[in-house]
C-alpha cells in the first residue's frame, strides 16, 4: 500500500466522512478556527500594541530626562514651604559646568501667541529652545533647516514653524514658508524651516503646532529675564539621568531657598525609566497573549479530541464493517488521524486568514499619516508555527480515539443489530 497522505482515494474517503455530519464537522472546525484565530490575533495584536506604544517615543533619545520645578515642601532660609520657584539659565550653566555626564542640554520656555502672515492669522505655542534640542528630539524636516548655534550667537530673529502652522499661514507647500517674515506676538521672524514631530509624544506641546525661536532672542524679545520652564538633557553614554540628579539638586538648592533634603521641590521625568517600564509592559502583554493563547489552543485541541472520540463511538459499527471486509488496524488509525488533521489544517488556515483580516483592519484603523505602521501583523513564520502546533496537537488529540477505534473487533461492533 502506498503512503496514505499521497493517496487521493484516502482524501475522498475523508471528505465523504467529514461531509456526512455537517453540523458536527462545522462545530469542531469552528473550535479550531477560533483557537487559531485567537492565537494569531493575540500574537499580531501584541506586536501591534507594542508598535503603537513605541510610536509615542519615536524621535526621542532613550536616555532623556526633563527637570521640572515644583513647589517646596520644607521651610528653608526663612521661606515658608509651598513656595514656587523657577529654574534659571544660570542654574543650567552651572549644572553643565559641574558634571561631565551630560551630553546634550537645552532649556525650554513656552508661551502661547498669535502668528500672522499677510491676511492669515493663527494661534499656537511659542517655544524657546537651545540648538541641542533638535538632537534631543529629532523631528521630520519638511523644508529648510532647524535652529542652530549661529542663530543663538547672533540673536537672529528666525523661527522654525510647525507643519500645521505653516499649512495655515502658507498653504500645504512647506517651501512657501521659507524666507518669509512671520509676525509672532507682534514681532517679525524669518522662517528658516518647517518641521513635524516623528512620534506621538512631545515635550511641552506638539511640534506641529509650535513656532520655535532661539532661546536668547525669545527671552530678550518678550522680556522673560533668565527664567526657564523646563530643563531637558540627555546623559552621556554609560550614564543614566539618575546619576546626574544629585548634582542638579545641589546646584538648585544652593541658588534658591530650597532645603537640600526637599524631595518635592523639583521632579525629574526620566524617559529611560519609561522605556524600561514600557519594555516591561510589552513583556507582560506577550506573556498574557501566550497564556490566553495556550488556553484557547488547549480548548480547541480538547474539542478535536472530544469530537473524534464521539465520531469513533458513533461509528463503531461502521468500523466493524470495514474491519470485516478487510480494513487493517492501520487503515483505521490512518483514517481517524487523517480526519482530525484534515479538519485541523482547513479550519486552522481559515482561522489564520480571519485573524489576518482582523489585524489588517486594526492596522488600517491605527494608521497615522507620516508615521510608520503600528505592525498589527502576523509574520509568515509565526502563522506557520501556529498552524504546525495546532496540527501536531490536533493529530495527537485524535490519537487516543484512533487507538480505541483500532481495537474494535468486527464481531463485537456488528453485534448490536
Amino acid at each position: 500500500m502506498t503512503l496514505a497522505i499521497f493517496d487521493l482515494d484516502n482524501w475522498r474517503e475523508i471528505g465523504a466522512t467529514l461531509a456526512r455530519n455537517k453540523t458536527r464537522t462545522f462545530l469542531t472546525a469552528f473550535g479550531i478556527f477560533w483557537g487559531t484565530a485567537m492565537l494569531a490575533m493575540l500574537h499580531g495584536g501584541a506586536t501591534g500594541l507594542a508598535g503603537t506604544m513605541s510610536r509615542n517615543f519615536e524621535g526621542f533619545a532613550t536616555n532623556l530626562a526633563a527637570i521640572v520645578p515644583g513647589e517646596t515642601s520644607m521651610a528653608y532660609k526663612g521661606f515658608n514651604k509651598g513656595m514656587s520657584w523657577s529654574l534659571t539659565v544660570d542654574d543650567i550653566d552651572r549644572v553643565c559646568r559641574l558634571t561631565d555626564k551630560i551630553d546634550l542640554a537645552s532649556p525650554l520656555i513656552s508661551r502661547y501667541g498669535n502668528m500672522a502672515f499677510g491676511t492669515k492669522t493663527t494661534t499656537g505655542r511659542i517655544g524657546g529652545v537651545a540648538p541641542d534640542f533638535w538632537r534631543i528630539q529629532e523631528v521630520t524636516l519638511h523644508a529648510g533647516r532647524t535652529l542652530n548655534d549661529g542663530d543663538e550667537r547672533h540673536n537672529s530673529k528666525v523661527t522654525l514653524l510647525g507643519k500645521n502652522l505653516s499649512d495655515e499661514l502658507f498653504g500645504p507647500d512647506p517651501q512657501q514658508a521659507i524666507g518669509k517674515y512671520v509676525s509672532i506676538n507682534g514681532l517679525y521672524y524669518k522662517c528658516v524651516g518647517v518641521a513635524s514631530q516623528k512620534g506621538e509624544g512631545s515635550i511641552m506641546g506638539r511640534v506641529d503646532d509650535s513656532a520655535y525661536l532661539p532661546l536668547n532672542p525669545m527671552r530678550v524679545a518678550y522680556n522673560m529675564g533668565n527664567k526657564v520652564d523646563i530643563f531637558v538633557f540627555t546623559a552621556r553614554d554609560g550614564c543614566t539621568p539618575k546619576e546626574i540628579l544629585p548634582v542638579i539638586k545641589r546646584v538648585v538648592s544652593a541658588a534658591h531657598p530650597i532645603h537640600p533634603d526637599d524631595e518635592k521641590a523639583l521632579w525629574m521625568v526620566d524617559i529611560s525609566e519609561m522605556f524600561e517600564m514600557v519594555g516591561n509592559i510589552f513583556t507582560g502583554i506577550d506573556l498574557l497573549a501566550l497564556f490566553v493563547g495556550a488556553g484557547t489552543l488547549m480548548a480547541g485541541v480538547i474539542g478535536v479530541g472530544n469530537i473524534m472520540w464521539i465520531i469513533v463511538r458513533e461509528r463503531t459499527r461502521e468500523i466493524g464493517i470495514r474491519r470485516a471486509i478487510g480494513a487493517k488496524p492501520r487503515d483505521i488509525i490512518v483514517q481517524i488521524l487523517s480526519e482530525s488533521s484534515a479538519l485541523t489544517v482547513v479550519a486552522g488556515t481559515a482561522g489564520i486568514s480571519f485573524a489576518c483580516m482582523v489585524l489588517y483592519l486594526a492596522e488600517a484603523m491605527t494608521a497615522v499619516p507620516g508615521h510608520a505602521p503600528a505592525g498589527f501583523q502576523l509574520t509568515f513564520s509565526a502563522a506557520l508555527w501556529i498552524l504546525a502546533v495546532f496540527l501536531l496537537l490536533g493529530t495527537a488529540a485524535g490519537l487516543i480515539p484512533a487507538l480505541k477505534a483500532m481495537k474494535i473487533k468486527p464481531v463485537e461492533a456488528m453485534k448490536d443489530k
Binding site: 500500500m1 502506498t2 487521493l8 482515494d9 475522498r12 474517503e13 465523504a16 466522512t17 456526512r20 459499527r317 461502521e318 464493517i321 470495514r322 474491519r323 470485516a324 471486509i325 478487510g326 480494513a327 487493517k328 488496524p329 492501520r330 487503515d331 473487533k409 468486527p410 464481531v411 456488528m414 443489530k417
Partner: protein, 225 residues
C-alpha cells in the same frame, strides 16, 4: 476441500466458562452450497465467526483454501478476510452514507485498487445483481431485498474463495427471501462455494447440504440430494 475443520474447540472464558464448540470436525468441498442450522445458542454463530476469521479458536486446526488459519496477526487476518471471504449479514451492514456503488467497491479500497477500476468492477457486480439503475442510491433508499443484493455484490467483488452468509434472509419477507436464495443458488451454479448460517428450515431446504449443530456439536451427517 476448501474448508477443513479438525477437532475445533472454543470456550468463552468467564466466571462460568462456556464451552461453545466441542470437537468440531467439518469439511466443505469447493463449489458446495451448504447451510449450518441450529437453535440459537447452539454455537452456529461462533462457528461462522471462526470460519470468517472474525474470531479465534482454542484448539484444533482450521485450513481455509490451503491456508492454516491459526495465530494470525490482525493485519494478516484482515488481508485473508479481504482476499478469501465474502460476508453477507442479516442486517446487510452497508455503510449508510455511501451509495450502493461505493459500498460495493469498499473492499477493493482496502486492497489498494484505484478508484476508477474499483467503480468499474463494482458496477459490473451491481449489473450482475440487476441493480445497475440503483448504483447511486444510498442504502436508505433501497428495499430490503435490494440492500441484501448490494451486500452480496460487495461480498463477490473481491472474487473470494467462499461466501459466508449469516441469516441472509432473516430481515426479509418470504418473497424477497426466495429472491435472495435464488441469487445464492445461481452463484453456486457458477461454482461459488457458499455457507449459509440460518435457523430457517425453508432456507436450509434450498441448500444442497444441511449441517446441523446443537449444543456445540455437529449432528450426524445427513446428505440431501
Amino acid at each position: 476441500m476448501i474448508i477443513q475443520l479438525t477437532d475445533i474447540n472454543k470456550t468463552y472464558p468467564g466466571a462460568v466458562p462456556l464451552h461453545v464448540l466441542k470437537d468440531i470436525n467439518l469439511g466443505i468441498e469447493k463449489g458446495e452450497l451448504c447451510s449450518i442450522m441450529g437453535a440459537s445458542g447452539s454455537g452456529k454463530s461462533t462457528l461462522l465467526n471462526i470460519l470468517g476469521i472474525l474470531d479465534t479458536y482454542d484448539t484444533g486446526e482450521y485450513v481455509l483454501d490451503g491456508t492454516l488459519i491459526r495465530n494470525l496477526s490482525e493485519n494478516r487476518a484482515a488481508e485473508l478476510r479481504n482476499r478469501l471471504i465474502g460476508f453477507v449479514f442479516q442486517s446487510f451492514n452497508l455503510i449508510g452514507y455511501k451509495n450502493a456503488l461505493e459500498n460495493v467497491a469498499l473492499p477493493l479500497f482496502y486492497r489498494g485498487i484505484g478508484r476508477r477500476r474499483r467503480n468499474a468492477m463494482a458496477m459490473e457486480q451491481l449489473e450482475r445483481m440487476g441493480l445497475a439503475d440503483r448504483a447511486h442510491h444510498l442504502p436508505g433508499e433501497l428495499s430490503g431485498g435490494q440492500k441484501q443484493r448490494v451486500a452480496i455484490a460487495r461480498a463477490l467483488i473481491t472474487r473470494p474463495s467462499i461466501i459466508l452468509a449469516d441469516e441472509p434472509t432473516g430481515a426479509l419477507d418470504s418473497h424477497t427471501s426466495r429472491e435472495v436464495m435464488r441469487v445464492f443458488r445461481d452463484l453456486n451454479a457458477e461454482g461459488m462455494t457458499i455457507v449459509i448460517v440460518t435457523h430457517d428450515p425453508k432456507v436450509g431446504e434450498q441448500t444442497n447440504r444441511v449441517i446441523r449443530i446443537s449444543d456445540g456439536r455437529i449432528e450426524p451427517v445427513e446428505q440431501d440430494a
